[in-house]
Symmetry: C2
Subunit: 445 residues, 2 copies
């Protein structure tokens, strides 16, 4: 039997008011043991990585898992067996199997780690079934889907956290800590992006993609064929957004996007499969480099670079710049006027790593060891589970999910119209200037 | 008596045809000694720096100098005396004094190093008087001025070289060399900009600017009060433009610009002069960081960052990225697929510095020593003088001057209209796809 009493937060519009005012949805009401029961939808590579982190927690029980691939289910079960954990119920009912999972009355939350096109549909179904939702990035791929997430969360009172792990990268949390202590002065300009050579992920094995291919090549490559835009904004935007208090005192107002020609993927297909390979005829819409510039209500700008089709070292392109100084990730350097020893000269960012290490990282260094992506995956799972357990809004919420994810469709529209500026919807309906951030102000989660 | 026979290139439209077809204007016709006679308009800090380089040359005679400041003239004369060179005639006739200088019939060329607002007017007067013109950056500040330069050059047949020294920076010439040898593959995306903390230049002494202030603060700061845009694009754009064959097979098509709020200059005035300083009430239009994205006819994009009001280390923000690899200046690193030792990892750019050092630098290393800005000033003066002496079009020409300089007014217009895309005029009138570059293909100039 569920530990959530759904009746409480499906009554009238109370949920909407709670979501906007920062009150918690009524999860786990009256429970003592504070065990969070989770269903995981999508247990491919990413889903199992999150599953593994939940198996390490004494406050989390994975009660149900769902996938369309029997092999993914089996690998999950092997992992769960190995961990000595309770075997969850398995849902393998095709693409609509998740609908049965979300209806279980013993779940507090669902985590969604499926191909992008399913994120919103599953998150909406989860919230409508009274579950707290943690959804992988991006949370949505169309403007309408972004609104669907917000509307559903407000109507049901259920939280929807976008599981943006890079918000918890150690260096960006150190920088956030320094921003909040005023070391950069008033913020002026930030940069982020997703500069990651995905060619061997978009094609595997060889020059293959689509049904029958492996891993993300089964579905992810399709987006490069049909869409031209900033397709993956959240890794770069999550941390920047938290530095700039987006949706909590600030908001995105407009963006422009400009795409280069598309050369990298076709060239890779030729190199891997030869000129006679059937995929040599595929036309890729996605420009190799997409540059997006966003203007914020408080006057800052953000530049995002999406760059996934060319040979290049990995970089999320971070820069945080204010009236007192600047940090850049690519050269691992920082300059703070009056503090850095030599005027106009970079110093190593590592000079500040210890002193301004975020309290969360100080506290949970040991727990994060071995977690994915340099430890940051621990923190995003931790934040989701703790917010559900404590019945408080997640520190990265449905307004973040919508305003970060909407960058993609707005970017596509800008490119399609010759880089014309696109206005962001205000998903908070005017509340952005009054809302308060709950992201990482303590060492708790 | 002039060594140029003006009658030859003022006949009908021959000049225009020559300029477009790459034929040389008829400078120094029939001369044996190949001594180039130059007048310098503006012998402030920048002008004297160029003057000093010409005094080192045995093929150049500075016959006339012009300035509105007696002190600048005197410092120039001291320098010329010290070099044991012939004393030039001096023009100190107020703001219109340059008109007398350009009318001298013993000059082959004029070099213009005055405040920006005079560049086009003086360049036009120089060309109309039958002189080859070398003009400092930017060559123009309005769209009409850009056209004035092009029209005048075509009508008179006189060349106009924009003296963009960064085109000759050693690392960017190495990269250009590598681009031309195909190491980056097909170019896709480039970056440049002008990231230079100019606060102590815009205000000197203390919080002062305008008449009575010192150095560039006399005039440069005014642009930050009245204009919001990419005010200084050519240092970043020059080298990128040469890599991308702009105006010689490629061209800029559109740009968008987005500016941050303006905080840095006001804050600096308060810090230097206090809240009661009269300049504490000055409102600065220029956003602290202006981001411009340009789309090229051949499908590449260029991102420019203008960032002159905040404390930060100097950087021209260079990136050159193609289908085979990427170079970035900020981390002094490069990655070339199949060549760099470790896949997906940067290697130091210095690994390539010797092997791909540009022939010009190899040949003129000794001559460039002690020249300004790390030696590159030698090369830009060398290129101008050699092109005049050899009666060939300059390697950086009036179409470069116009298309690089027009970025500023287009950027201002984009910002003023909410980052709307702006179309570049085609200053070559359709010839861009047929024109050939003459920039730095040999070790000569």
């Amino acid at each position: 039997m569920s530990i959530i009493d759904r009746r409480d937060f499906l009554k009238g519009g109370a949920g909407a008011a709670m979501a906007l005012t920062g009150l918690s949805p009524n999860i786990l009401k009256g429970q003592d043991d504070r065990m969070v029961r989770v269903g995981v939808i999508g247990v491919g590579g990413r889903g199992r990585s999150l599953l593994r982190l939940m198996l390490r927690r004494s406050d989390t029980l994975v009660s149900a898992i769902c996938d369309i691939e029997a092999e993914a289910i089996q690998q999950s079960l092997d992992m769960i067996n190995e961990a000595g954990a309770t075997i969850p119920e398995q849902y393998l009912g095709g693409e609509e199997g998740f609908r049965d999972l979300v209806q279980r009355d013993d779940l507090d939350a669902v985590i969604i780690a499926t191909p992008w096109r399913w994120h919103t549909e599953m998150a909406v179904a989860g919230m409508q079934a009274g579950k707290a939702v943690g959804v992988e990035v991006p949370a949505a791929v169309t403007i309408q889907e972004c609104w669907d997430l917000v509307n559903t969360s407000e109507q049901t009172g259920m939280p929807c956290m976008i599981m943006e792990n890079v918000c918890y990268r150690r260096d960006v949390m150190t920088v956030l800590n320094m921003v909040r202590q005023g070391l950069f002065g008033e913020l002026i300009h930030c940069q982020g992006g997703y500069q990651h050579d995905l060619r061997a992920i978009k094609f595997q094995p060889g020059a293959e993609f689509g049904p029958g291919a492996r891993g993300e090549a089964v579905w992810r490559t399709h987006h490069s064929i049909t869409r031209n835009g900033e397709l993956y904004p959240t890794h770069g935007m999550g941390p920047i957004s938290k530095c700039l208090d987006i949706n909590t005192g600030n908001r995105f107002v407009t963006l422009t996007s400009t795409a280069t020609k598309s050369r990298g993927l076709h060239k890779y297909v030729l190199a891997q499969g030869g000129e006679d390979h059937p995929n040599a005829n595929v036309r890729f819409e996605l420009g190799d480099v997409v540059t997006t510039v966003i203007k914020c209500a408080n006057g800052e700008t953000i530049m995002l670079s999406h760059d996934t089709n060319l040979p290049r070292p990995y970089s999320l392109n971070f820069r945080v710049q204010g009236t007192n100084g600047i940090w850049m990730s690519d050269n691992r350097s920082i300059y703070l006027e009056g503090i850095s020893p030599e005027p106009h000269h970079w110093e190593p960012f590592s000079n500040y790593s210890d002193q301004y290490d975020h309290p969360l990282w100080k506290r949970y260094t040991a727990e994060s060891e071995g977690a994915g992506h340099g430890g940051m995956d621990f923190f995003v799972v931790h934040a989701f589970i703790e917010s559900v357990k404590r019945q408080v809004p997640p520190p990265i919420d449905v307004y973040d999910a919508a305003s970060w994810s909407v960058i993609s469709p707005l970017s596509e529209r800008s490119i399609a119209t010759g880089s014309s500026p696109q206005h962001f919807p205000d998903f908070t309906r005017g509340e952005w200037s009054r809302r308060a951030s709950s992201f990482a102000f303590t060492d708790e989660f």
